[in-house]
Symmetry: C2
Subunit: 309 residues, 2 copies
């Protein structure tokens, strides 16, 4: 077995749902991000190494980076394979698309090594296999923004229909309180039925958010960042959620909410100074209740997975 | 009692819901339309005349044009009133915003006679009083597009939050089969709860529709014109609904569905020739089953109620 070529990629964190877009919207961040080195091999196999402390499975079929590559080389059936070194900075179970970063980074790197034979929708399709390994469900609201960059709408999974939504420059503050919320658990507590009147409010909000993004209407973005269906249930799992949200808004944030299935919380701001004030509020809240946390002040990443950063 | 000033307005039909935007989206049409003459009086009273054959109530509090004006002059309390002559072309119970046209036309005309003292959101607020007279519920998805023109999103009713959505030039074919569907009845048959998975599909579609309108992406508009919640229930009330939809799409329409609570059906097309082919299909279908109908081929009206047409 020989290495034919190799490449390094930077695979970023993503915020799924964006408050009112449960299961259909996602946003790519500039921080945090994983770094991955991917080797093209002259043998049809997938090898996974973890270069950090996380106990991630190295069996490719059980690994979120491995499973998509197994599918990809199976489709190609060209006697080639991949070896992947993952340096993980996005904590698994943070709600920041950790599994998506592994899956998306692996397929974008592999595709680049192959001379870009696959389209972006193909890559999303492969990467979703990784999400299925991680959470039991094929979903694209992290892998699509990770691959496309910016904000993406997944209008439909079957058939796959991904729409890039142009967004203004915005600053994003993220706090990751150190408790684990498993995506599968966070999904379990949701009701299978919702009130029609709540669903109507939700689709009014997502329409407002998309229009706000596309028209650079900051106030409309802020007003539309409201979730009457998922947040009231899931926020119970996140200590001090309401306080973080309230104090962030008082500090000037446009709005925000749970990142993916949590426990991370994100807030959008027009100005970097506001985003930093929001970070200070978040730090004070979790310091006071003695819960370890990470915070990030970053921007929307319009590029997605970056080749040779 | 003397007439101080008078004015004529053209108040157009509107399509509420736009398939995937139940209760939050509406679109203004160039045809059909009502014509109204409104007189400013030097006495605090509202007088309604019907200049056509419809048996509309002339008691202002029971009339969709009258109730908003009663509210308006009450707020002003300036010893002035209005006399309204309505020439109705939009059939009540057609699903084309007949009551909204009366209410919106009356308040826009009255406001113009008063020197535009009220804002557009004020006018929508007054006009909703007319909708309450007509259907028992204050809703804005017809009066807002009738007053603003184009496509409007009513993100929220309380507080009122109306967003104009820029739209490309599109041709609209409407068929109004001559059966009556009362808004209140059409609302009654809806379930109070919906499946979360259906609600997710719906908010993916409305986000896609808004993005499609704003990016002039005709194919995305077409794919997003899908309603998995309301249409399957309400379309049962409309004879030949599925056939109209299927044959319109085969004829080249982007998509469409029930206008408001029906029974009218609308279809969007990129080209006028297609819109006319769609009309021919609709005519054939209802002629064959011997159901009287009206059809219209028109465009989106970006102006709304027109002063002195």
């Amino acid at each position: 077995m020989n290495i034919i070529k190799k490449i390094t990629v930077r695979s970023p964190a993503t915020v799924a749902n964006l408050v009112c877009g449960f299961d259909v919207l996602g946003m790519c961040l500039n921080a945090p991000y994983d770094t991955m080195e991917v080797h093209l091999l002259d043998e049809q196999k997938v090898i996974i190494h973890s270069t950090d402390g996380y106990p991630l499975p190295t069996d490719p079929m059980l690994n979120t980076a491995g499973a998509p590559l197994v599918e990809m080389i199976g489709e190609l059936n060209a006697g080639i394979g991949f070896e992947v070194m993952i340096n993980k900075n996005i904590k698994p179970g943070s709600g920041l698309g950790s599994s998506a970063a592994s899956a998306a980074g692996a397929v974008v790197a592999a595709n680049h090594l192959l001379g870009n034979v696959f389209s972006k929708p193909d890559l999303v399709r492969f990467a979703m296999t990784g999400e299925k390994v991680a959470s039991g469900v094929k979903h694209a609201d992290n892998v699509a923004p990770c691959i496309y960059g910016g904000v993406t709408l997944i209008r439909s999974i079957f058939p796959l229909d991904i729409v890039s939504i142009p967004v203004p420059e915005l600053f994003v503050t993220v706090v990751h309180p150190q408790i684990e919320v498993k995506t599968a658990d966070a999904r379990q507590i949701l009701r299978k039925e919702v009130l029609l009147k709540d669903a109507i409010r939700q689709w009014g909000n997502i329409a407002g958010l998309v229009a706000g993004f596309m028209q650079n209407d900051m106030e409309l973005i802020g007003r539309s960042l409201e979730d009457v269906i998922i947040e009231p249930v899931r926020s119970i799992l996140i200590p001090a959620f309401d306080e973080v949200k309230n104090r962030s808004k008082i500090a000037g944030a446009l709005g925000g909410g749970i990142s993916g299935s949590g426990p991370s919380i994100f807030m959008l701001s027009k100005e970097e100074a506001t985003a930093k004030k929001v970070e200070t509020e978040m730090q004070e809240i979790y310091t006071k209740i003695d819960l370890p946390f990470y915070t990030y002040v970053t921007t929307i990443n319009n590029e997605g997975v970056k080749i040779n950063p």
